[in-house]
């Protein structure tokens, strides 16, 4: 899955721009059966991983068994619906030219774009609020709880990144599903990714994918190394943060117009 994710990330965030993934790009990509198989496999693995992650988070924060079961069933149903939608689109999509059967619904692009702006605004405000709260406590020399420990940051960032990537994945399945039914509206929707206001969120998305993927590999490696691994939790986390920053900066450069 990590290989598939990074291939996808390279195509859409390093070799090109998210806003360049137009309906024509999707048509050209899905003209090859191999890319359809690639996208479908990635969809299946990512959504399966996502629902397992949701299950783990539900077990952590919800105590009542009935509530846990209800949330698990809900998450499973949403996953099944998105797998079904994604599968139908990937396997049956055919090029329809400039317009499709949903092209008269012109309200769709503004609504999806507004949704992206709302998500970005919430993310920016969340980061600013968390940073301000931490800064105030540090300035007043008030203890910052378990945030003194690198492990706490590693854990929280893993959860936040995973939830963020899953949320974007669901939005992404919806917007790509628009491509075969209304190519003109899909193009207007993806054009919104070029808005400067959304660039920090897109870089954050790349960072979240990089961090979440390599943190999973890091934890597997540390567990495999037994005693040596458990003593390397802090240095490996520092290395992971540096790696995430290093791999996110090229994506930022590409979004800002730099071309190799």
């Amino acid at each position: 899955m990590v290989v598939l994710v990074f291939t996808h990330l390279f195509v859409t965030h390093y070799a090109s721009l998210p806003s360049a993934a137009t309906a024509a790009f999707v048509d050209a990509r899905w003209a090859a059966a191999g890319w359809r198989a690639f996208d479908w496999t990635l969809l299946l693995l990512a959504l399966t991983h996502g629902v397992v992650g949701v299950h783990a988070m539900v077990r952590d924060v919800v105590g009542r068994p009935v509530s846990r079961a209800a949330l698990d069933v809900g998450a499973g149903a949403v996953t099944a619906a998105f797998v079904g939608l994604g599968t139908a689109v990937i396997l049956t999509a055919t090029p329809t030219g400039d317009r499709g059967p949903l092209s008269s619904y012109t309200w769709i692009p503004p609504v999806l774009t507004a949704g992206l702006v709302v998500i970005a605004t919430a993310a920016y405000l969340g980061v600013l609020a968390a940073g301000a709260a931490l800064g105030v406590r540090l300035a007043r020399r008030v203890p910052i709880g378990r945030w003194n420990y690198p492990g706490q940051w590693a854990f929280a960032l893993n959860r936040t990144a995973g939830a963020g990537v899953l949320g974007f994945l669901l939005v992404h399945v919806l917007d790509v599903a628009l491509s075969p039914f209304a190519p003109d509206l899909y193009d207007r929707t993806v054009a919104a990714y070029a808005m400067p206001y959304l660039i920090p969120m897109e870089v954050g998305l790349v960072a979240a994918v990089v961090y979440h993927a390599f943190d999973g590999l890091r934890l597997m490696l540390l567990e495999a190394l037994d005693r040596r691994g458990t003593r390397m939790t802090v240095p490996s986390f520092v290395a992971l943060v540096l790696l995430t920053i290093s791999l996110s900066l090229p994506a930022l450069a590409v979004l800002l117009g730099w071309r190799p």
Binding site: D60, P150, Q152, F155, V234
Partner: protein, 240 residues
């Protein structure tokens, strides 16, 4: 921080008899040379506030009674010198445990979970009843025994339990200390509780609830590695 000066100590106070609100109280302590945080608490008790409550026993870093949160990190008050800490020094009770008063926490939830893993090895009845029976033989340099010998150094101070974020969000999680103890006895070649013990630590709230955060390894004042025990239990490394 130079010794022999006034050092500001901020203590998280809580008195259920006085409304039960938590608040910070600041004290200026005459810090002598080599003065520990526990010494400073005694100084406050003797010179400024005789109502301050805290737990202690050996004063030598061996019993674990004086575990608390010092400058945001779990540690033993008797083992931390003021001159090594950034002022003002904040002192709080352990986290994830009910506070009885000030720095005194109720350790019952911690020890209830400790008890839940049967923290003692269960031997062969025949080995006790039959004097001719051969005891288990552990060869020199046995790799498992090397780990067990390190892990049984746990002094059950509760620092790892307090630092663990999973304990704070998953009430049924047994916690690092109990799981470490479970590994130490389960990996003992003489233990016969094997599968029953494994069943307990792999159930809800057991080793699979741990997210490998590693705070337990960072804070342990005696160098025990609970995360390693949890990982070895997860891998079934105690199967015989």
């Amino acid at each position: 921080m130079p010794a022999g000066r006034k050092v500001s100590i901020r203590v998280r106070r809580f008195d259920p008899a006085a409304g039960g609100r938590r608040s910070w109280a600041a004290y200026d302590v005459d810090a002598g040379p080599m003065m520990s945080v526990l010494d400073a608490l005694f100084w406050i008790l003797e010179h400024q506030d005789p109502t301050l409550a805290f737990r202690y026993s050996c004063r030598a870093g061996m019993c674990g009674s004086c575990a608390m949160v010092i400058n945001g990190r779990e540690g033993l008050a008797c083992a931390q010198r003021l001159e090594h800490l950034r002022a003002p020094v904040s002192v709080e009770p352990l986290r994830s445990l009910p506070v009885i008063k000030d720095l005194l926490v109720d350790l019952r939830p911690f020890f209830d979970k400790y008890r839940a893993v049967d923290p003692f090895y269960v031997g062969h009845a025949a080995a006790v009843l039959d004097p001719a029976s051969e005891p288990a033989v552990v060869p020199r340099g046995d790799a498992t025994r090397e780990i067990v010998d390190r892990q049984i150094d746990c002094i059950a101070c509760g620092a790892c339990y307090s630092a663990c974020p999973v304990v704070s969000i998953v009430p049924e999680f047994l916690g690092p200390a109990a799981l470490n103890r479970a590994y130490a006895v389960a990996a003992d070649a003489r233990d016969t509780a094997g599968l029953e013990r494994l069943r307990r630590v792999t159930a809800d709230g057991g080793v699979f609830a741990c997210h490998s955060v590693g705070n337990c390894v960072t804070v342990c004042p005696v160098g025990v590695n609970p995360l390693l025990s949890i990982q070895l239990l997860r891998k079934g490394a105690v199967h015989r």
